[in-house]
């Protein structure tokens, strides 16, 4: 055993955070011959320990008592809806669930694995081209990523092959193929695995959507539809629709995770060092404040503070923590919503998601316990770039989908009732049982735009266990996104009718409705350290390199200028491979800014 108070030897690269982004960067940079040390604040997680049946499918231990999630007792954030409010601590994990431990949120995610659309990556330019500059609401910070779909395509492809993604293409190298999403951009190759099977509820949705002239497709799923060995030699077993993806470690090695798809290869590489229970407190800078020298962290196992130096620092923690570390390290200028100067904390966005419910006749059982996190059927008719927003007057859109991921009994019971229906007592009990047996969920999983007064900064009052200020979130729903959501949800009722619904409960955002942190929505948080083409409005250049500190790269959904209609992980992975590619090809030969400011 190494002396636990010793400081590890100096690596070439320090990676902060052991989720998807950190694991991809570690793999790429060890392949480039560099010595890489990855620091993870939580424990190590491996399927053989964390994922063993039946402990891994224990709902109370898993999703209810939040086994794989961030330990709020140590650090949280504060939340408010408007800048004139006092933000209050997020004391219980409810609306969103950051991960903790090796694999990060990539261990407990569902597996929906989308690419971005061409327009998602250049939404400002595309909006102006289609509708004119006046179409953009005042105080909306609509921006381009600075990278195009064409440039990212090889990296989307690479990520799908590493993740073992199941799906069906529509267009490969310009050739029409299969019955995939006809609105999806062209691809250089097929998905590595065929699409996941439709659950009963997804098949009913697919049939109804087809009849109505929509264009249903299988959601691309990083759940293996067949046995698979990825380019790193990591193996996945076929998914059996056990229903324990979101919130759980997959006991079958079927759901892609850093732990299953990358780390088994990395752990064999002597250039790779993993330090767990290492809570990074600060990225250290030299006197010029233009160069990162390393990190200061707390070794939670020995309760000692340590420093570690390196030539290159990769910040790849969860979105919120990337922003927090930039702010507490004093890198870049914090965003000020009054003057609209500064970039750190700017363009914080979320996902405009609402879930509606559809009841089928009593002789049809939806078996909601059956499911896979990424499996399902979606339509992009209200999300794709060509969908005419001009007459509707909003920017963005939503896929609509039936993504039956496996509904467990405690979650089903807690979620039943409400909207006027009884929440307890005999009437509740009957309705809850009926809802579990005969209903299904349909989501509008929409984009979320960035606004002047929606941002992240440091809280003046509350601190974490290490004495640092908590991150402060100022977030609420805005008119553009509420109208987008209402328009999309207005079509769900017709689809439900075509599905043979006996009853529906449609949910959409209402004007003036504040963001409610008590209700689980999704963990798709974006922005705060965004990429772009102008250092005045972005923290990172198009290679995800800090404009201010060129030997620092910040990888994750924190780089997204706005939230797209899809789940973020596919784009996070592609951006990580894109950044790594250019670090390997350009930066390592000539360390310094890769784009002149």
């Amino acid at each position: 055993m190494p002396d636990e108070t010793s400081t590890p030897t100096r690596p070439d690269v320090l990676i902060i955070g052991g989720g998807w982004a950190g694991s991809i960067m570690a793999k790429e940079l060890t392949e480039a011959g560099l010595n890489v040390t990855m620091l993870e604040r939580g424990h190590d997680h491996s399927t053989a320990v964390e994922g063993t049946y039946p402990g891994s499918i224990d709902e109370l231990r898993g999703a209810i008592r939040k086994r794989l999630f961030q330990k709020l007792a140590r650090t949280s954030l504060t939340i408010r809806n408007r800048p004139d409010q006092t933000a209050l601590p997020y004391r219980q994990l409810t609306a969103f669930l950051p991960g903790e431990g090796v694999g990060g949120a990539g261990l407990h995610w569902s597996g929906c694995h989308f690419r971005a659309t061409e327009d998602d990556l250049r939404l400002r330019s595309a909006t102006i081209e289609r509708y004119g500059e006046n179409f953009i609401p005042k105080d909306m910070h609509l921006q381009d990523y600075g990278v195009t779909y064409g440039e990212l395509e090889p990296f989307f492809d690479k990520a799908e092959k590493v993740f073992g993604t199941s799906g069906e293409a529509s267009s490969v190298r310009g050739q029409k193929t299969g019955r995939g999403n006809i609105f999806a951009p062209d691809r250089s190759d097929h998905f590595p695995l065929p699409p996941m099977a439709d659950t009963f509820s997804a098949s009913v949705f697919r049939a109804a959507a087809t009849d109505m002239g929509y264009h249903p497709f299988s959601i691309p799923a990083a759940n293996a539809s067949q046995p698979y060995t990825n380019p790193y030699g990591c193996q996945m077993g076929p998914c059996n629709f056990c229903g324990y993806c979101s919130g759980y470690a997959c006991y079958l090695y079927s759901k892609a995770s850093p732990n299953v798809n990358i780390l088994p290869a990395l752990r064999q590489d002597r250039r790779f060092t993993l330090i767990t229970q290492a809570q990074v407190l600060e990225i250290m800078l030299d006197d010029t404040h233009k160069k990162a020298t390393g990190v200061r962290y707390v070794d939670l196992s020995s309760r000692t503070e340590k420093t570690l130096e390196a030539d290159l620092v990769i910040l790849s923690a969860f979105q919120l923590h990337n922003v927090h570390l930039m702010l507490v390290s004093g890198i870049g200028q914090p965003y000020d919503p009054v003057t609209q100067t500064g970039t750190i904390g700017r363009n914080f966005t979320y996902q405009t998601i609402t879930s509606s419910r559809v009841w089928l006749p009593e002789d049809r059982f939806t078996s909601q316990f059956v499911g896979a996190g990424g499996a399902g059927v979606a339509i992009d008719d209200f999300n794709h770039p060509g969908f005419d927003r001009g007459r509707l007057g909003f920017i963005g859109g939503s896929p609509i989908w039936v993504n039956q991921a496996g509904l467990k009994p405690i979650a089903a019971a807690q979620g039943s009732g409400g909207k006027g229906a009884p929440r307890w007592g005999s009437a509740y009990k009957s309705a809850m049982i009926d809802q579990y047996r005969h209903s299904l969920g349909i989501d509008a999983h929409g984009s979320n735009m960035a606004y002047r007064d929606v941002y992240l900064d440091l809280d003046p009052t509350w601190t974490n266990a290490y004495g640092q200020p908590l991150l402060r979130m100022t977030f609420t729903w805005k008119d553009n996104d509420i109208r987008m959501n209402q328009h999309v949800v207005s079509h769900i009722g017709d689809i439900a009718h075509a599905m043979g619904a006996t009853r529906t409960s449609l949910n959409s955002l209402q004007p003036g409705q504040p963001f409610d942190s008590r209700v689980y929505q999704t963990t798709h948080l974006n922005g705060g350290v965004i990429m772009g083409e102008n250092p005045k409005t972005s923290a990172l250049n198009r290679y995800l390199q800090s404009w201010d500190v060129p030997n620092l790269f910040v990888i994750g959904s924190s780089a997204f200028p706005q939230g797209m209609g899809y789940n973020p992980t596919g784009l996070v992975a592609a951006l990580a491979y894109w950044s790594a590619h250019h670090i390997r090809r350009t930066y390592l030969r000539n360390p310094g800014p890769m784009v002149s400011a």
Binding site: T86, Y90, R91, F369, K429
Partner: protein, 258 residues
């Protein structure tokens, strides 16, 4: 309902007892404890019942008076009826008592740093109390309220009166010292439903009664042949997790504070 659907009937007799309560000057001693507890009549030989029958549970966190309240309040939230067993028969109160001794009970899963300020409901839970505090700080005041208003402890009230008290809590018409009634009600509802549907290893969901009622097949976790059966009911009843000596042995490795 097709004939192959999981059974919804529940034939066992109710362990819940309000028999013997005739109104009048109520005190703790006049309220019947849960029937069938051996403790009630220590010298008589109790009929043989399964060892894990929830009715025989002796709480370790809650006092007898608190536990009696808990049994009755949980049962109103999730009552025994034609759909199947209620919270008490399922062991939800036992589940809650056991949860009080876990990191969850002590609030170790929550951010509990001061200061504590009230705010708009959308900003979430802001009380300085962990689940243990919420139960301990509320049950006795509720009973006091019931005694002063209805001249009886909560457990001795007729069901519709109990529902009234619960509704008053849910809608925040009651406040117990600085704990809003709704905060306690939500804690109670949440834990009751957890107790009805968590794996039986945690003390609730007795005999997987919650799962049977709902049609959840438990720890099967393999539906390769049931991805799409065109809406037919799933034919098999539930299975529980194999018994583990202590479900917390590896579940909650409490991290050391840095």
């Amino acid at each position: 309902m097709t004939s192959s659907s999981p059974p919804r009937s529940y034939g066992a007799s109710a362990p819940l007892s309000r028999r013997g309560f005739m109104g009048g000057a109520a005190s703790l001693s006049s309220v019947p404890l849960l029937s069938r507890t051996a403790e009630a009549e220590p010298d008589k030989k109790a009929p043989k019942v399964p060892e894990n029958d929830p009715a025989h549970y002796k709480p370790t966190f809650f006092s007898q008076e608190e536990y009696l309240f808990l049994c009755h309040a949980c049962e109103r939230i999730f009552p025994q009826d034609e759909n199947g067993p209620g919270a008490q028969a399922l062991g939800a109160p036992r589940f809650i008592d056991r949860q009080m001794s876990t990191p969850y009970g002590f609030g170790d899963l929550w951010y509990m740093k001061a200061p504590f300020h009230e705010g708009p409901p959308e900003l979430g839970y802001q009380l300085p109390y962990n689940p243990r505090d919420l139960y301990r700080g509320t049950i006795t005041p509720i009973n006091t309220h019931c005694l002063m208003t209805y001249n009886a402890l909560f457990a001795a009230l007729p069901p519709d009166r109990q529902d009234e008290v619960l509704h008053d809590m849910e809608n925040n018409r009651l406040r117990f010292n600085d704990i809003p009634g709704a905060a306690f009600f939500e804690q109670l509802r949440t834990n009751t439903l957890e107790g009805a549907f968590a794996d039986p290893a945690y003390g609730g969901n007795h005999d997987m009664g919650g799962w049977k009622m709902m049609g959840f097949p438990g720890a099967r976790a393999d539906f390769m042949d049931w991805i799409n059966q065109e809406g037919a009911p799933y034919p098999f009843g539930p299975v529980g997790m194999p018994a583990r000596p202590d479900p917390y042995s590896s579940a909650f490795q409490t991290d050391e504070e840095g």
